[in-house]
Amino acid sequence: MRGDAPVVLEARGITKRFPGVLANEQVSLTLQHGEVLALLGENGAGKTTLMNILYGLYQQDAGEVLVRGKPVRMRGPSAAIRHGIGMVHQHFMLVPVFTVAENIILGAETSRGPLLDMAAARRHIHELSQRHNLAVDPDALVKDLSVGQQQRVEIIKALYRNATILILDEPTAVLTPQETDELFVIIRSLTAQGVSVIFITHKLREVLALADRIVVLRRGRVVGETRPREASERSLAEMMVGRSVILQVEKQTAHPGATVLALEQLSLNDDRGQQVVNALTLDVRAGEVLGLAGVQGNGQTELVEAITGLRPVRAGRVLIDGQDYTGAAPRRISESGCAHVPEDRQEDGLVLGYSVADNLVLNTYYVAPFAHGIVRDGQAVLHHAEQLVAQYDVRTPNVTTSVAALSGGNQQKVIIARELSREVRLLIAAQPTRGIDVGSIEFIHQQIIAARDRGTAVLLVSAELDEIMALADRIAVIYHGRIVATLPATSASREQLGLLMAGAQPEHL
């Protein structure tokens, strides 16, 4: 269709080495005018690294980058910006305490005399948001925005610099399905206006829906190129991982036992003191997966924090195995046999400056076999780490590498490995497979089901309906801080859940 459109961006034989890893090896790819190029690959395949090189953040060891046919040396992001390249990063690059307008103009400010011309900036932002249908309030503080809105700010930021090539690194990983649909509309309207887009995702359905062309990376090399017409989710998964992948986890019917987690009339406030959970009652039994479905921002985050001891409880009780753990310290809750996969991996899940091995014992470092009395056993910690890294396929040069140097998905795998490798009574998993590739999702899903079959109670919070439908035995829908319906997974349909999540009354369905 766009086969003969001019090439706007080309990578030729890019090689990039980090201590202990070859992140990109002889990678070549082209991007044509007005197309959406999807970049697929396992966690740690080198996608983000390649984009950072195109954007001038990293310098390649070999190979060259061509913009509109001319070789350019990207000494830094300003060179890339000058050549019309914009990038929305996997972890957003916004200053939380700045306003939207300040974030957008940062680095590309216009001044009148010595002072910033904020009026002109606001006008320009307004014009861009009208033209591309990206509603934002220039005077809102970024920290008060939802992730979807923050992403819009990032896109306007690129357009404000007249970007004609837009790199989106896993833009949908943190979005709700509705926000993803909105993003797709935006991307289509951008390409219609001549913007070319590189789009990274782990969600194969999105690739098939949006891309014009698909390039697959594996272990730092390009292993194939295809088009959505010629591909299916199955064939793409196979191309990425190099073997066939079971996209739907196999599981037997659950045999629920006694109640493990009981929430009684729980009420919670958010960080700004607004009540977000209202007298919520819910229980999860041993040997079952309870899926909590809901649009982001309906109280799920606060609920998980309260259960795991990270947020004070305003009213109501949290019972684990019949014992009251309301307001208990996180360590006491963890020692009661509760595992927690937090929603924000970099904020609550990891100590970024610590090694992989130390992160793998964050909640057990003080007990045998990792400590004897007050003395740590470094050998045991390393040994434990090596086992888990192999078992969970964490791609890292070695276990003493700092987790900050791992790719986003591999950071997530470290948390999963730590939490799932411990025998627990209760597993609280919030967005457990966010940013994880299909091959590893398969494995993680199997582990969750295996834990269930050993009698663990699992509370799964996910924005992915597919994930909830695949794993849950019962599904509870949360809306405005209340459970509006609880249904057996076998009788729930996507449409029904979608309506409930949007606030429809169950009796009207």
Binding site: L57, H89, P96, F98, L106, G107, P114, L116, A135, L145
Partner: protein, 346 residues
């Protein structure tokens, strides 16, 4: 989103009202005092401004460094070295302008040294600042010789017309040069930080350096320049002490003012005007402290017991006030998010 924006605006509105109300009450209080005792009031206010000058300059130095993400607890040492060098230049050349430049230069050089340690050598920033404080004390103590005589000091300059306004005139428009300069600098640095490109970028690298880097801002270069500017401001504070306030050098003449400046910076939530408020409070406490000691025998009967207190206790007053203010009133002061963190990209 529209709503959160307007909540934020409403909140700033409320703080504006509050600040306005407080300032109004203060103005009335001063006017009442002036009506009852014009001379004493004028004297107290004039002295408050003078006493607060080195504090606000030190706080501005801290603000420039810390807004860009570099902790600077070496302000005390920067002030001391600059006070000493300014004094030496004054002794050698007898030219006060050259002496001020000497103090500025000394502050800038020590600032550059701090930047080198903190940014390039990645020394822990608290330790780097402590090194400067210790070095400054040792260096000035070692080279200082008794008997060096100064060649005069900076004297008040009355601004025609403005200085004859009652109360305001003598307090604001009959000051020596560095005091004037500090008043101007409060406004200039406020504008610089919040209304210019440089300020926006400085605040960005102090909050989220990676975000600044991705839009092409040279994080470490900007940090260097801000820390050097901060050093020069601390240098000016030192120059004030040896060239304007005392007119000579004494061992450890900064006497903790660099640390008070840091407290005042935090009190002012890293803003120039907020810090000025803190500096004035400290200046006022310091003035009252010396007034009380001075008037010991002439205190009204109901205050006579104050005269009985050992002078050391009264001398502690400003510092106690600093501690009380920091512990009690500041509440949730939020430092720049990337403060004290080295920025490395790969």
């Amino acid at each position: 989103m529209q709503i959160t924006g307007s909540i934020a605006r409403a909140a700033t509105q409320r703080t504006r009202w509050l600040t306005g109300g407080l300032l109004g009450a203060l103005a009335i209080l001063i006017l009442v005092a002036y009506a009852r005792a014009p001379q004493a009031t004028t004297a107290v206010l004039t002295s408050t401004i003078r006493q607060s000058t080195p504090i606000i300059l030190g706080a501005l130095a801290g603000i420039m460094c810390e807004r860009s993400g570099v902790v600077n607890i070496g302000i005390e040492g920067m002030m001391l070295i600059a006070a000493f060098l300014g004094f030496l230049v004054n002794v050698w050349t007898g030219n006060l302008l050259l002496a001020i430049l000497g103090a500025l230069l000394a502050g800038g050089i020590v600032g550059a040294f701090h930047a080198l340690m903190a940014i390039s050598l990645k020394v822990d920033q608290i330790i780097a600042g402590t090194v400067i404080n210790i070095l400054a004390l040792g260096f000035t103590g070692y080279f200082y010789q008794q008997g060096l005589t100064t060649q005069g000091k900076l004297v008040p300059v009355e601004i025609p017309l403005l200085s004859s306004i009652p109360l305001l005139g003598p307090v604001l428009f009959a000051n020596p040069p560095i005091t004037y300069l500090s008043l101007v600098l409060i406004i200039v640095i406020h504008l610089l930080l919040f209304r210019t490109r440089w300020g926006l970028r400085t605040r960005a690298i102090g909050e989220h350096p990676a975000a600044a880097d991705t839009v092409g801002i040279a994080v470490n270069r900007m940090r260097y320049i801000n820390v050097i500017i901060g050093g020069m401001l601390a240098g000016l504070a030192g120059g004030f002490l040896s060239l304007e306030s005392v007119g000579s050098f004494e061992r450890n003449m900064t006497n903790g003012r660099g640390f008070v400046a840091l407290a005042v910076m935090i009190f002012g939530k890293w803003t120039p005007f907020g810090a000025w408020g803190g500096a004035l409070l400290f200046g006022f406490a310091n003035t009252m402290q010396s007034q009380i000691q001075f008037m010991q025998n002439r205190l009204p009967p109901w205050l006579a017991w104050v005269g009985q207190l050992p002078p050391q206790f009264i001398g502690m007053l400003p510092y106690l006030l600093t501690i009380a203010v920091l512990a009690g009133f500041v509440g949730r002061a939020r430092p720049p998010a990337a403060l004290g963190k080295v920025y490395e990209k790969e």
